[in-house]
């Protein structure tokens, strides 16, 4: 393992790896190492030393940080100015059984969005700029540190969700937003998936700008009868009360306010941490959620993003069935937690259509022609 603490050292390391044609795994907090195809025993580049906030400009609504800055640190610093990151990063460490520290770059690289994606988009919607070292050993910038920019190709989008396969990040600039003063959650109990998801979509398609919309069946939420639809709203004190009243009206005055905020554990996948088997995230068009849940016919599942994602725990023997159901609804089934053999066999996603897959490989080669970075992970 080699440890680097500044961009120059990253450049030196990549140049040496290029010279030796020696691929490596990029590791920071290590919480997401078990996502995607296993790296086997490749050498590791430890980038955890690239940590810390470089410049926080609350009035410009941007923050620039080193990539291995922890989510906890950045969240705390932004909160001091009543702001939050532009996206809702998910911390999968408990789900994946890691004691490591979840980082900014880890969340963005794995496109790990929590329940707030519904309202705030994912990492790709808020990463404005980055610096990195490409597979040629060149330090380069993508995007720019302003909130509106169309100059050249939008490379920050590509970096998000690339699982570290394009470059080694050395700096990231994100949009930030004001943090709502208050939040509250409503619970519509004892409803079937059909009724629960219909209620969630009603709120999703209203002007209430909900911050979380999830359905949990009985097995995932005790004391909620057949299952519960959960609705999170945000705002200043008085507006929040009025929005809650409007949501009550839309739901036929059948929901009740609950004290706890269940969305952090939903978005981080913690509800599945103690369940055996594979854990999947199936992304679909929200209105298909009840039918997808019915076809999956599993005990342990939930729907977040108003039905746009179904989380589930399943036996390894269900894998091909889950992929087939996702495909039949034009969705994507992401294998988030599994043993290394299953991950090697199944991949993170189902194979893409040949022309699209070839295009993805060509884009990867445009950054990393020798396939040095996290080879095969995506």
């Amino acid at each position: 393992m080699s440890k680097v603490v500044n961009p120059e050292q990253v450049t030196d390391f990549v140049r040496a790896a290029r010279e030796a044609k020696s691929p490596f795994e990029i590791v920071a907090g290590g919480t997401r190492r078990s996502v995607g195809k296993p790296m086997n025993d490749l050498p590791q580049l430890d980038v955890s030393g690239l940590s810390g906030i470089i410049k926080y400009e609350p009035e410009e609504l941007i923050v620039t940080a080193q990539p291995s800055t922890s989510l906890a640190e950045i969240t705390a610093v932004l909160a001091q100015k009543n702001q939050r990151l532009g996206f809702d990063p998910a911390d999968w460490s408990r789900l994946l059984g890691s004691n490591g520290v979840a980082t900014l770059a880890g969340a963005a690289s794995c496109d790990a969005s929590g329940s707030g994606r519904l309202r705030h988009g994912s990492a790709r919607d808020s990463l404005l700029a980055f610096q990195a070292v490409n597979g040629l050993g060149e330090h380069f910038r993508g995007g720019a540190k302003v909130v509106k920019n169309v100059t050249g190709f939008d490379l920050p989008k590509l970096v998000c969700g690339a699982h570290g396969t394009l470059c080694v990040l050395t700096e990231m600039t994100f949009r930030v937003f004001p943090k709502p003063q208050f939040a509250a959650t409503l619970c519509l109990s004892d409803v079937t998936p059909e009724i629960g998801f219909a209620a969630l979509r009603k709120i999703a398609l209203s002007a209430l700008e909900p911050a979380g919309l999830a359905y949990l069946p009985a097995a995932m939420m005790p004391n909620a009868g057949q299952g519960a639809a959960l609705i999170k709203l945000e705002g200043a004190a008085k507006p929040l009360e009025e929005k809650l009243a409007m949501a009550h009206g839309l739901l036929g005055n059948t929901a009740s306010r609950i004290d706890e905020d269940p969305f952090a554990s939903i978005g981080n996948g913690e509800k599945f941490a103690d369940l055996p088997g594979h854990v999947w995230r199936v992304m679909i068009a929200p209105s298909d959620a009840p039918r997808v849940a019915k076809e999956l016919n599993l005990q342990h599942w939930l729907g977040d993003w108003a039905g746009g994602v179904i989380w589930l725990a399943a036996s390894p023997s269900d894998a091909s069935r889950i992929r087939a159901i996702a495909a039949s609804f034009k969705g994507q089934a992401m294998l988030l937690r599994a043993g290394s053999d299953a991950r090697a066999a199944l991949g993170l996603y189902a194979p893409q259509a040949p022309a699209l897959a070839a295009l993805g490989r060509a884009v990867k080669a445009a950054f990393d022609p020798l396939s040095l970075f996290n080879p095969g992970r995506l």
């Binding site: 720019a144 302003v146 509106k148 169309v150 490379l155 989008k157 022309a355 295009l359 990867k364």
Partner: protein, 493 residues
């Protein structure tokens, strides 16, 4: 600015190319002189070239066949939507096929349940909203050309508008596209689920200015129309006060739906043009929209009124929808109003960090004196996107060139203060030669390699965005001596 040299060998084969295209699209080839004149420029009208031929496909199969033909024959391609690009993105080539996408304008699927609409690329931006407004929805990005510009062009340019701070650009409002690659392959990226199952190529294609392929289908997000929108107008004695006010509003946690700045010159020109009721003598005016549910809007408006007063400004709130429209009609007529002051005008488009506004405006005033040309500034203050309008008379020798130099200096200034060359209009031909002021050689080469991943022969929209022709065969590490540009043997234009 120089346009790319024309390949006379291709021009000599014109008749053969025209008949090949007629075989693919029998009723959609424009090859006569007067017909082609319609297509000789986009909204950057100072530049024009007659295309070799223009073809108007009706479906994706025809697009694919055209591209396969062009690829096999080595003929450049220029995609075009409605031709409203302000950066010359759709400027034709004398040796290239112009593909007009205007005939593919069907709305394929209105899916309010999933908050999305599936459209062909030739549907205009505004027609998406019109198709869903009866259901209470709208499509958020609203470039000022929205009556005419097409969604395909919006995807190519990653178009913005007045409401980007809160609602994002085109890229934040898409779920998927179907793209025909330069080799003719048809790929679908994303869809109603928004998931791609691999690299975010949707994000890459959006804003790629017609360099990577041709979009033949788009899945856009639609949003519920806010039940309440209120509009405030704030006037200030100094630009600095207005700038400080914008910062204070943001710092307070208010995210306005729109926050527009105009300087005293712009306000004066607009007031004499269509009398929207802008206060006389103000050095800076802000127009601020808050939208959402009643409670959120009331909260935001009361905060803004307080903050404006603290910053030394005066506010007037539109009392009804008529007055709201009137206030906005002035801002939207800024171009036309300036057009009355001089026969010609160019609209620049850079983004700056908001805190740099007073400095940048001072510097622009100095540049104006230096070049002897008039100007005014409108500014999407919420997101830092500055639009200086430069006025000149093209009939006066040298004025157009001076206006272009003035504009280029403004954009260099934007880069110098930490901003960018383009916030929403794109690079096109207009800002192509300034890319070296913003990006290093390694950075331009990195982008060039991404271009090559899609377009190995370099046939798509050549001469746009990048200042040197990309030579895909030269991929790999290119050693550069000193400040010498890469590919010294390749023409720079």
């Amino acid at each position: 600015m120089l346009l790319p040299p024309t390949d006379s060998k291709i021009v000599a084969r014109r008749a053969e190319i025209v008949s090949a295209l007629q075989a693919i699209v029998p009723d959609g080839v424009v090859a006569d002189k007067s017909g082609l004149a319609t297509f000789d420029s986009d909204a950057l009208s100072a530049y024009h070239q007659t295309p070799l031929v223009c073809v108007l496909p009706s479906n994706r199969e025809q697009v694919s066949e055209i591209l396969k033909y062009a690829q096999a024959e080595g003929v450049p391609i220029v995609p075009r939507g409605a031709g409203t690009s302000l950066s010359g993105g759709a400027l034709p080539r004398q040796d290239g096929i112009l593909i007009g996408m205007g005939r593919m304008k069907r709305i394929l699927d209105i899916d309010c349940e999933n908050g999305c609409v599936v459209v062909e690329p030739g549907v205009t931006n505004l027609n998406i909203t019109k198709a869903v407004e009866a259901n209470g929805f709208y499509y958020a990005p609203d470039p000022s050309s929205q009556v005419a510009c097409t969604i395909g062009g919006n995807v190519a340019e990653n178009s913005g508008g007045l409401h980007c701070l809160k609602y994002g650009l085109t890229t934040n409002n898409l779920l998927g596209v179907t793209l025909v690659l330069p080799g003719g392959e048809i790929v679908t990226i994303g869809g109603k689920s928004g998931a791609q199952g691999g690299l975010d190529l949707l994000g890459l294609v959006t804003g790629s200015e017609g360099l990577l392929g041709i979009v033949v289908e788009v899945v856009v997000k639609i949003l519920r129309k806010a039940p309440v929108t209120r509009t405030l107008m704030a006037s200030f004695d100094t630009v600095s006060e207005a700038g400080a006010c914008v910062a204070a509003i943001i710092a307070d946690g208010v995210v306005p739906a729109a926050m527009e700045f105009m300087d005293g010159r712009a306000a004066e020109a607009i007031e004499s043009y269509n009398q929207p009721g802008y206060p006389k003598g103000a050095e800076a005016i802000l127009i601020i929209d808050a939208d959402g549910v009643e409670a959120d809007v009331s909260h935001a408006i009361s905060r803004v009124i307080t903050i404006v007063a603290e910053c030394g400004g005066k506010t007037v709130e539109a009392t009804d929808e008529k007055q709201r429209t009137r206030i906005w009609s002035g801002r939207k007529a800024a171009f036309a109003a300036m057009g009355k002051l001089a026969p010609d005008m160019i609209c620049m488009d850079g983004t700056i960090p908001r805190h740099a506004l007073p400095y940048v405006l001072d510097e622009i005033a100095k540049l104006s004196e230096h070049y002897g040309l008039g100007f005014c500034n409108v500014f999407h203050a919420g997101d830092g996107n500055l639009h200086p309008l430069i006025i000149f008379d093209i009939m006066k020798p040298g004025e157009f060139e001076r206006a272009e130099e003035f504009g280029a200096d403004i954009l260099r200034l934007c880069v110098k203060v930490g901003g960018v060359l383009s916030g929403e209009h794109g690079v096109g031909v207009e800002k192509r030669d300034l890319m070296v002021d913003m990006f290093t050689t390694a950075e331009l080469e990195q982008q060039g390699r991404v271009k090559c991943a899609f377009d190995t022969k370099g046939l798509f929209n050549p001469g746009k965005v990048f200042p040197t022709l990309s030579a895909c065969v030269e991929q790999g590490h290119i050693h550069v001596h000193g400040a010498q540009l890469p590919h010294p043997h390749l023409p720079r234009y």
